[in-house]
Symmetry: C2
Subunit: 176 residues, 2 copies
Amino acid sequence: MSTQIRLSGSGGQGMLLAGIILSEAAISEEKNAVQTQSYGPEARGGASKSEVIISDDEIAYPKVTVPDVMLALTQEAYEKYAVDMNDNGTLVVDESITLSGNDKCKVISIPIIKSARDDLGRIIVANIVALGALVKASSIVNEEALLAAVLKRVPKGTEELNTKALQTGFMLVANK
Amino acid sequence: MSTQIRLSGSGGQGMLLAGIILSEAAISEEKNAVQTQSYGPEARGGASKSEVIISDDEIAYPKVTVPDVMLALTQEAYEKYAVDMNDNGTLVVDESITLSGNDKCKVISIPIIKSARDDLGRIIVANIVALGALVKASSIVNEEALLAAVLKRVPKGTEELNTKALQTGFMLVANK
């Protein structure tokens, strides 16, 4: 069993950190993971993506080809990176995104950025809210393992904020 | 022109951060980069590797197959990951490593860990010393671009220490 995950947004929204945290949560559950970050012209502004493959077995090919689980935080990222989604996959998008109507997979639209900015008061934790939503929607890793991985990577002094951000993400999907 | 880079050591030696910094230095020079971190059983203790491909063109295949430039900070990492080096490549190793005698590529053995621990007083910056050494030995990115990328990623308040660490790495190779 292998799951291909793509996290996308704009540069500066912390998709790389989200991918690292997700990988570290997976290995704490004795799974294998490969995290890949592509830096191209788009990394100098515009859409940014971070990819993770999680598997019970060894991972031979590290590139995500057909995402099973995907996050899109911006319209540009959605339009650019959601096109090759698995039809049976799960796509979590920020509610600001206008859907094309062509998505065959399950789509969950929730106020990730608004929650980070208005409810938590720090737009910078939108990536952690998103990570909580993605994991609640897909069960790719255990929620406790994810929290432990978040707390290992966020700056000292921000543990409470990030715990709240993760729980906000869980709730956005649970209440959907 | 494409360069395959492998950074290896033990878990906790900051190879992932070194790979991210190297990628970010490359894109600041208008190159493309792909950074990959594999988390397997070895990520739960033992050898750890982080890989980067830097290219002037788009990078289709993100996996490092034959490293052109490689770093090994521990004996285990050297034995496990240096075997498939490019014969014309450059391998930078910590001086604590006993070489097999079978390496066909250029090998530069320098006191990376000792310098970080004894001269800089912080073993945690061994990855930045190593990055300086690797770039001085291979010219894969510009030294100023590398310093700027280091300063963007290290914790606030550690800029001076990390600048010194990078310069120490440059000097270890320059004086070799």
